[in-house]
Amino acid sequence: MIWDWEYAIDVLPALAEASLVTLAATFWGFFFALIIGLVLALLRRSQIWLIRASTGFFVEFVRSTPLLVQLYLLYFGLPQIGITMTPFTVGVIGLAVHVGAYISEVYRAGLDNVPAGQLEAATALNFDSYRRMMFIILPQAIPPIIPALDNYLVLMFKDTSLLSAIAVVEMLQLAKILGSESFRFLEPMTIVGVFFIVMSLLAASGIRYVEARVGRGST
């Protein structure tokens, strides 16, 4: 099979459009994953044993089953209990919960690294538990874990390709459709690959920039 420039240029606009779906899924997925991860990490530190234990079980469950299975479960399972959503929404929820479970462990490491004396000093100054977390603990817990979060952003970005399995027309899904119409997979798949490389590199350098800024702010 020989590379066909004409065909490549032909499919480029459609793929570029589908890349917006990939980017949107990554953005929203990661946005909610950051929130879900934090909530899970905080629940795991709850003073109530039952909350700690059930959160731990949930995190382990999510982490030890494949994302693809979870996406199928959500996509085919939710309508069974009367909840219907667009494939895109289901995909974002699936990504957010899956990556959120992993990220909760990252947050946990960050929270555990804040010395106990910080909590004690905040208590001695009569901070309530919410403000203690918001103004004292999290600002110290988060900057050191940004590099680890960066990894999960890139992982999630690549995992958006799994959404093709639940009929989200993101880049990979479109490449498959185009390929099966024209019997030429080389060009669309290559374009998808290049797109992922370029975006991953951009994301990594973007996060390094944020990291440097946050790092400066906290020393």
């Binding site: 010395p115 004396g117 910080q118 208590t123 100054l125 901070f127 110290q140 702010g217 906290s218």
Partner: protein, 265 residues
């Protein structure tokens, strides 16, 4: 136990009544009775592990008690009075009681992500909801008082241990507590930095209404600024009284051997 009646016979502001605290099988405080009157400056001395820091941590509500009652200004600290009996306190009660008390820690525990001024004003703005400008005025004034007017915008990592501890003192004072507690405030400092922190504490001791409870190994300093010294061992007060008496003519053998060991080192 060799005990005299407290020197100042004012109203009690702190009262421990048969307080018990255990960590596992180990009784850290054993039926401890202790009364501190308003404005009194009390030094608690004793070997490490004797329970002296635990007394401060209980007062700061960092450690719950396992038995007995602690009262602050006549009100139970760890309990609520309900229908004539005492029930365990909730967070709301603890937060109300904490307003009376400030604490300075051995390892300063400054917030590393804030400037010196930020450390002093954080609780003013977030806890007392004071307007930023007013909080900063108070913060600047307090940092001035501890001799750090030129370090307002320095981060803790840019300050020496002595400077950090002085920021920590200003931070605790900002909340205007009626009880200030110092938990081995100079133990983590290089010897040449101890003096600057002691000077700030000495200055505070002139405040007539401020109650101070100091856990320290600086016997000379304790004798100089405190009205009373309590020697604690194995979770009990072995001996207490005026510093001149307890430090210079201890009656109990346990106190004598402790002081001899400390002063020899």
């Amino acid at each position: 136990m060799a005990t005299e009646t407290p020197i100042a016979d004012g109203e009690p502001i702190i009262r421990f009544d048969k307080v018990r605290k255990c960590f596992g099988d180990h009784n850290v405080l054993d039926q401890l009775d202790l009364v501190v009157t308003r404005g009194e400056k009390l030094a608690i001395i004793g070997p490490s592990g004797s329970g002296k820091s635990t007394i401060l941590r209980i007062l700061m509500t960092l450690e719950p008690i396992d038995g007995g009652v602690v009262e602050i200004a006549g009100e139970p600290l760890w309990h609520l009075r309900r229908n004539g009996s005492l029930v365990p306190a909730d967070e709301k009660h603890l937060r109300r009681m904490r307003r009376h008390i400030g604490m300075v820690f051995q390892h300063f525990n400054l917030f590393p992500h804030m400037t010196a001024l930020g450390n002093v004003t954080a609780a003013l703005t977030h806890v007392l909801k004071m307007p930023k400008k007013e909080a900063e005025e108070r913060g600047v004034q307090l940092l001035h008082r501890v001799g750090l007017a030129d370090k307002l915008n320095s981060r803790p990592s840019q300050l020496s241990g002595g400077q950090q501890q002085r920021v920590a003192i200003a931070r605790a004072l900002a909340m205007r507590p009626s009880i200030m507690m110092f938990d081995e405030a100079t133990s983590a400092l290089d010897p040449e930095l101890v003096g600057e922190v002691l000077n700030v504490m000495r200055d505070l001791a002139h405040e007539h209404d401020l109650t101070m409870v100091i856990v320290t190994h600086q016997m000379g300093f304790a004798g100089e600024i405190c009205d009373r010294v309590s020697f604690i061992d194995s979770g009990r007060i072995v001996e207490e009284g005026p510093p001149d008496r307890v430090l210079k003519q201890p009656r109990e053998q346990r106190t004598q051997s402790f002081l001899r060991a400390v002063l020899d080192s």
